[in-house]
């Protein structure tokens, strides 16, 4: 899974700028987000993919998991627009249902790692001392293994499970970056006077964490969340491609690429089309993530 090296850096000025009225902020968001063609394209792609996932049964009349051996390995024709695989299943149908698998895994894993990472990061930044040291060393260790190796280790040792094992592996792999980002963010927010004021009026640590620090540290979280979905979908596709992710007959794009590689010379679409779907989805979410970042980054206020 390629990691995105372009991260928004911790921003010292973030909390210091007085928040402008909510309405103009929202308008700015819309203007920036829909103002650039690339972001708009990304948004449309994401919208189409979500739509496809929800209305999958209406878009195709085939069953993605039912074998039809007499019709196997057909090239594209009027009945099967993209042809059929080695079990006679319609490729287009499996790609359409594959959106569901990808999105369910993508969203669940990203939410899981976000929740865990946020709590760890906030706790580390807020309590400092040995809590900080322990949590950050754990994050260091998790980051020391290449993400895909960590996921392979978990998914591989729990092999044979359904999609929730894949979600667990991917979510586990995403905790450390999230935790680091949240911690850096919270550390800079903590410097602000209103946090000291909250402490002065006797707020509990827990309350300060959630009512003062978290709301001011969450913008990069949203960006990380959107970008994270693309990364997780790539990770899921990768695991399934290696055969330790989502298992057949559940339609998974990565698994389809793997299955299709054997028939590359006769039926190239078998493995090339699902890969295209992965790319579109990841591209869409990355662009939406970029757009959200530009739209909510206070440093860019006035620039765009």
């Amino acid at each position: 899974m390629p990691e995105n090296p372009v991260e928004s850096k911790p921003d010292d000025a973030m909390g210091a700028i007085a928040a402008p009225p909510r309405r103009s902020e929202w308008r700015r968001f819309v203007r920036v987000f829909f103002g650039r063609k690339l972001y708009l394209i990304g948004f449309i792609i994401v919208a189409i993919i979500v739509f496809t996932a929800i209305f999958a049964p209406l878009l195709t009349s085939y069953n993605p998991e039912k074998n039809d051996l007499p019709a196997r390995l057909q090239t594209p024709n009027a009945e099967h627009w993209l042809g059929t695989d080695q079990m006679g299943r319609d490729i287009l149908c499996r790609i359409i249902y594959g959106t569901r698998v990808s999105l369910i895994i993508g969203f669940s894993a990203v939410f899981a790692s976000t929740i865990a990472g946020t709590i760890m990061g906030l706790a580390a930044a807020h309590y400092g001392g040995w809590v900080f040291a322990v949590i950050m060393r754990v994050a260091d260790v998790l980051m020391a293994l290449p993400a895909i190796i960590l996921m392979m280790l978990i998914a591989g040792m729990l092999k044979g499970g359904g999609i929730w094992i894949v979600v667990f592996a991917l979510g586990f792999g995403g905790i450390a970056p999230m935790c680091r980002m949240m911690c850096g963010q919270a550390l800079s927010v903590k410097q602000n006077d209103y946090v000291m004021a909250a402490r002065a009026v006797g707020m509990s640590n827990w309350r300060i964490m959630w009512t003062q620090i978290f709301p001011n540290a969450y913008p990069p979280l949203i960006v990380g969340l959107t970008m994270g979905i693309g990364g997780v979908v790539l990770g899921e596709a990768g695991l399934s491609f290696l055969g330790i992710g989502v298992q057949a007959p559940t339609p998974s794009w990565g698994g389809m690429v793997m299955d299709g590689q054997r028939f590359l010379l006769t039926n190239p679409l078998l493995s090339l089309m699902p890969g295209l779907a992965i790319m579109l989805l990841v591209f869409g979410f990355n662009m939406v993530g970029d757009g959200v970042r530009d739209a909510i980054d206070p440093r860019l206020r006035g620039v765009i």
């Binding site: 899974m1 390629p2 990691e3 995105n4 090296p5 372009v6 690339l38 060393r137 260091d140 260790v141 998790l142 020391a144 293994l145 290449p146 993400a147 895909i148 190796i149 960590l150 392979m152 280790l153 978990i154 591989g156 040792m157 729990l158 092999k159 693309g230 790539l234 596709a237 990768g238 491609f241 290696l242 055969g243 330790i244 990565g254 690429v257 793997m258 590689q261 590359l264 010379l265 190239p268 493995s271 090339l272 890969g275 992965i278 790319m279 990841v282 591209f283 990355n286 662009m287």
Partner: protein, 322 residues
């Protein structure tokens, strides 16, 4: 400087030891009985109860799995420091020998992926930053954005289809050792290296471009222009040197990405390297090999991060004393 290096090395060692614990615990604590799973897989029946309880216990004792986990860990780690990584269940060979066979291959293609990805990305990124807004910048930036999203394994398959099958320029898959037949081996590694390097180029180009653009807005660059320096001097001395700080710190991450990508590419192109070793071991439930290869991957990343840290502490004094 010496104090800085020593401090870095100690931190690196500490992380490495924690990684051994993580790998060990992940493999041991996840549910599942390694012996049962291994045997079920070995006999190919999928049944887990092909052994009598006595045979099963004997196997556990033979593998040392009946002892408490801390004892097992201590046993494992102390053997590692003696260069003994254990024995593979599947092929009945010392793991250190298996790894010594496959690691040079992964290191060799990894080296080329790293070189092509880093220098290609730097070149593209610098060019785009200097000529920003031109059609070539827009095209390259869009390609980089797309390049970040392409699954490595899919790109490999696509390249095989067009360059090996349609055009017949390169062999479809396989591996030739460069120390056996250098030119032949080159034809074999072009496509694998290209598939992984594209992602590297894309990421590196995006980062370089944005860092260069950030530096361009600084006061010292404006001063340099005002002084009437030549463009080349400004770009190389003033912009590039400062823009490189985040780029160089990202090199460790790039290497991790390339290692991850090589796992897929070794599967696509049937290259018998580290990634293949680990994938096959996972399929065979050969937990000793899985453990050892994950550790090797972690070790490579930790040592390269260490190297980056030391190199950069040397180049940028602010980091050394920060």
């Amino acid at each position: 400087m010496t104090a800085y290096i020593i401090r870095r090395i100690i931190i690196g060692m500490f992380i490495l030891i924690l990684v051994t614990m993580l790998v060990f615990l992940l493999v041991r604590l996840l549910p599942g009985d390694p012996v049962m799973r291994y045997m079920a897989n070995f006999t190919g029946t999928g049944q887990q109860n092909v052994m009598t309880p006595e045979q099963h216990d004997a196997m556990m004792v033979r593998l040392g799995l009946d002892r408490p986990i801390p004892v097992q860990y201590w046993d494992w780690i102390s053997k590692i420091f003696q260069g003994d990584l254990g024995e593979s269940l599947g092929v009945q060979q010392p793991i250190s020998k298996l790894i010594a066979d496959v690691l040079p291959r992964t290191a060799y293609i990894g080296f080329w992926m790293f070189v092509v990805g880093t220098f290609g990305g730097l070149f593209v990124g610098i060019y785009c930053a200097l000529r920003r807004g031109t059609w070539l910048d827009n095209t390259l930036t869009t390609i980089a954005n797309i390049g970040m999203t392409v699954p490595v394994f899919w790109l490999g398959i696509l390249l095989i289809y067009f360059f090996s099958f349609k055009l017949g320029w390169f062999p479809m898959y396989g591996w030739v050792n460069p120390w056996d037949d250098f030119w032949k081996s080159c034809t074999y590694i072009v496509l694998p290296v290209a598939s992984v390097a594209l992602g590297g180029v894309a990421g590196m180009a995006r980062l370089t471009r944005s860092c260069m653009l950030e530096v361009m807005r600084t006061d010292y660059v404006r001063t340099a222009w005002a002084k009437g320096l030549r463009e080349r001097v400004i770009v190389i001395r003033h912009q590039l040197k400062n823009a490189m700080i985040p780029v160089v710190t990202s090199l460790g991450g790039t290497l991790a990405m390339i290692l991850g990508g090589s796992v897929f590419i070794e599967t696509v192109f049937s290259i018998p390297g580290m990634g293949r070793l680990m994938t096959t071991a996972i399929f065979d439930y050969d937990y000793q090999v899985v453990q050892a290869s994950a550790l090797i991957f972690g070790g490579i990343v930790i040592f390269s991060n260490l190297a980056v840290d030391i190199a950069w502490g040397w180049l940028d004094p602010r980091i050394r004393y920060g």
